[in-house]
């Protein structure tokens, strides 16, 4: 690692990286041939190759978004990105069989420990493909499918064909088209009718190579009356050159089902994190997004829920932390298509050291959606005069019986609160750290314990040097 990268790593807890040990690495740049080669290499069915090619053509023809942080978006050099890199020849099922360097990385991230203590199953993705995967036996016996997406396509092609792109079509936006064209890895989960997965299942994504694109694709289907809690964490080593993460996550909650999808994103400050996440909730189903954005250079991520069946509910809780050079452009979208649907959105953001955080949201009520209720709350804290906080909420209401509320506020840390804590012996930095932790508390209490602990530690690290 060069000095520049070393210096940067010093500030970033997960900024270590292992030497690349790629089995297959594609040349940089994207073309239709690259897309076909990825598909051929994975021995995919013809229909998937066709979708990839169509998506690639759409990606090429579609202009960059003219909203958001256009300057940062325009600085992405798509031709400098490696679109496929395979670190391990096959998906391993036994931790002992995983190559040593990859295992080292994940052990430093704490995955085996996490699996033992808490998690029902775990998929770890390293560069483009999943390298390790296991599902607890009792879940397998109940018929729960938890595979990496490539294996899911091989083993359950009909199920994947039925739901792939059904929630997020490839033409939804430029980056969903890119993901559909070059996707690799991600999770595929099917929970049968009436099965409740009590323990959270986890995936971990990591970029180890520079100029690497990671395009995982996740599809979760919870059949009628089932439930699942899925947790995803993302990190990347710090490199002096930029990396691109553009994922697509599709959730389908059938009648009476419940899906909770939790993310803590701690990409290093050279990663463009441009993610499309959307769920469909059928009658009386619940989709919950718990979304934490701590890292990355630019994040544009708006988890959304389409409330398609009567009585469906959406819950979106997100926090964003924007430090120096970061722009966290996050938000939430809810479409109320059916009667008596409800949604809650809570967004909290902190900007520090010139960072910029933005909330961008959409709340839409269709004419047929009688009796809908929704509440949106956005709170922003600014820790210094160099930072910036924006809020761009949109409410579109076409039904008179809807009951919608939105409220937002931007402020600095209260002098009274600081004074109170400092009068009890905390120094200013500690007091600010406590206030920040308290500010994010509605989010952290929704996370599994180890993630909550990790998030609080990350925030403490980020808060170091916040004074002066």
């Amino acid at each position: 690692m060069n000095d520049e990268a070393n210096n940067a790593v010093g500030d970033y807890q997960y900024g270590f990286h292992d030497p690349e040990n790629a089995t297959i690495r594609f040349d940089k740049g994207l073309s239709e041939q690259v897309v076909r080669d990825i598909s051929n290499l994975k021995e995919e069915p013809e229909w998937m190759t066709e979708i990839r090619v169509k998506a690639y053509r759409h990606f090429v023809s579609r202009p960059m978004p003219d909203w958001g942080n256009c300057n940062m978006l325009e600085s992405i050099k798509f031709d400098d990105v490696t679109y496929f890199l395979r670190s391990s020849k096959q998906t391993e099922n036994d931790w002992d069989d995983v190559p040593e360097d990859i295992k080292n990385t994940f052990e430093r991230l704490g995955i085996p420990e996490a699996e033992q203590k808490w998690l029902g199953g775990v998929t770890a993705q390293y560069e483009s493909e999943a390298v390790y995967h296991s599902v607890r036996e009792d879940l397998e016996e109940q018929g729960v499918i938890f595979l990496d997406m490539d294996s899911g396509l091989k083993e359950y092609p009909e199920l994947v064909k039925q739901y792939f792109c059904s929630v997020i079509p490839y033409a939804d936006n430029k980056f969903s088209a890119l993901n559909t064209a070059v996707w690799s890895g991600g999770s595929f989960i099917y929970v049968p009718k009436g099965v409740h997965v009590e323990m959270p299942v986890q995936a971990y994504f990591r970029i180890n190579a520079k100029n690497m694109g990671q395009f995982e694709r996740t599809l979760i289907i919870a059949d009628e009356g089932s439930s699942i809690n899925y947790v995803e964490g993302c990190t990347a080593p710090t490199y002096s050159t930029d990396s691109l993460h553009s994922a697509v996550v599709e959730l389908i909650a059938m009648e009476g089902a419940k899906i909770r999808y939790s993310t803590v994103q701690n990409w290093s400050a050279n990663v463009y994190n441009l993610v499309t996440k959307r769920g469909i909730a059928y009658k009386n189903a619940v989709v919950e997004w718990v979304d934490g954005n701590i890292g990355s250079k630019l994040t544009m991520k708006y988890p959304s829920v389409i409330l398609k069946g009567e009585g469906a509910h959406a819950e979106i809780i997100s926090v964003a932390y924007a430090g120096a050079g970061q722009h966290q452009d996050a938000g939430a979208k809810v479409h109320h298509l059916a009667p008596n649907t409800t949604s809650n959105i809570l967004s909290k953001s902190i900007s520090k050291n010139g960072g910029r955080s933005s909330y961008r949201g959409l709340l839409k009520v269709n004419p047929n959606a009688h009796g809908c209720r929704s509440k949106v709350v956005c709170d922003a804290l600014m820790l210094d005069a160099d930072s910036r906080s924006d809020t761009y909420p949109t409410m579109e209401v076409s039904n008179s019986s809807a009951d919608l509320e939105h409220e937002a506020s931007v402020s600095k840390i209260s002098g009274d609160q600081l004074f109170y804590l400092m009068s009890r012996g905390f120094n200013e930095e500690e007091a600010m750290g406590l206030i920040v932790n308290g500010f994010f508390e509605p989010f952290t209490r929704e996370l599994p314990m180890e993630y909550a602990v990790e998030l609080n530690k990350l925030l403490e690290l980020e808060m170091e040097g916040a004074i002066g």
């Binding site: 910036r388 209401v397 039904n399 008179s400 809807a402 919608l404 409220e407």
Partner: protein
């Protein structure tokens, strides 16, 4: 930049998302027709334009278009000789345009009424409120129900000045209003209260920008809308606090009452905050008339329609309650009561 050099805005642009430029242009979007000046009466005396229109330094398409279509201007001065003013803008022509420039050098009031049966009215109001002055401004849009209105306003507030702004929008069929206020100097203050009624197929799009350019400036925006029939209300607010503007206190609230299944309301209150020691908040709410309130009124002998009308009246009147200037407040409330209820 000339109008024809400016690209026609597409609907991806926030400002033109719900009302495309082609819907409020009086002819083909590629043309700049010369449009006659509307009739302007101040305190029952008609005033003429002085052909000295101030150049707009914005390259915003509607402002440039209005300037190129008619470069005349009416100057209205609020001074000690004339502190209270009633101004009527009217036209029976097919199309009409008007630019009013307000210079407020004392504390006073100005009420503007739009009336007449023109098919298309272009209106640009610019104004400066001088140091230590308070301007109470009221605008009633009471044009014929078939009219299309393109309205731009640009206000500048200097040190220790106050702009107290009230608007009642009930006239016309297709309305695009773009109101921008710049709080240029310290301790300037803006309160903006806008009541909108969209009924039948009325389409009313308000874009309100408030720019805090100095510290210790205050703004409060309150937009209340009652939507019935196939009415469509759009309210977009952009509240910007620039760097080094500590001590600002800014808020915006959008409230929509939806009175029919075919009415629509969109609210987009945006914040961009670049200073940390500020208070900035916004809120938006959409709902139908509270059934408990209806029940309460009906149990006291009102019919359902009458009860609903009274509740709507109370909802809209409350929007003007905080206007301190009695004359402006009473005019706006009177216009609301006379015309709608």
């Amino acid at each position: 930049m000339n109008y024809l050099e400016i690209p026609v805005p597409n609907r991806a642009q926030h400002l033109w998302r719900y009302t495309p430029w082609s819907k409020v242009h009086p002819a083909e979007v590629g043309s700049v027709p010369k449009i006659s000046t509307a009739k302007v009466i101040v305190n029952e005396v008609e005033i003429k334009s002085n052909n000295q229109r101030l150049a707009s330094n914005l390259e915003e398409i509607s402002r440039v278009f209005l300037q190129e279509s008619n470069d005349s201007m009416h100057l209205v001065t609020i001074n000690e000789a004339s502190p209270a003013n009633l101004l009527t803008i009217s036209s029976e022509e097919e199309q009409a345009i008007c630019h009013i420039h307000v210079e407020c050098s004392t504390s006073g009031s100005l009420i503007v009424k739009l009336e007449g049966a023109t098919n298309w009215l272009g209106l640009h109001i610019t104004g400066n409120v001088a140091k230590n002055c308070t301007l109470s401004f009221g605008l009633v849009n009471d044009l014929a129900q078939h009219s299309t209105i393109l309205r731009c306003e640009d206000w500048n507030l200097l040190r220790d000045s106050v702009l107290e702004y009230g608007e009642l929008s009930i006239g016309g069929r297709q309305i695009k209003s773009d109101i921008r206020t710049s709080l240029d100097e310290v301790n300037s203050s803006l309160t903006q209260n806008i009541a909108v009624i969209t009924d039948d197929s009325r389409h009313d799009d308000h874009h309100i920008e408030i720019l805090h350019r100095s510290g210790n400036t205050n703004s409060l925006l309150n937009v209340s809308s009652a939507c019935s029939g196939k009415g469509h209300t759009i309210g977009t607010g952009l509240l910007m606090i620039q760097e080094d503007c500590d001590g600002c206190d800014a808020g915006q609230v959008f409230k929509n009452l939806l009175l029919s299944d075919t009415a629509k309301a969109e609210s987009i209150p945006e914040l961009e905050v670049l200073s940390d020691d500020v208070k900035a908040a916004h809120g938006a709410a959409s709902s139908s008339v509270d059934s408990e309130q209806i029940h309460y009124m009906m149990s006291r002998g009102f019919s359902k329609e009458h009860a609903e009308a009274l509740i709507v009246e109370g909802f809209l009147v409350s929007c003007f309650a905080k206007i301190n200037n009695n004359e402006v407040r009473q005019y706006l409330i009177g216009a609301l009561t006379d015309k709608y209820l």
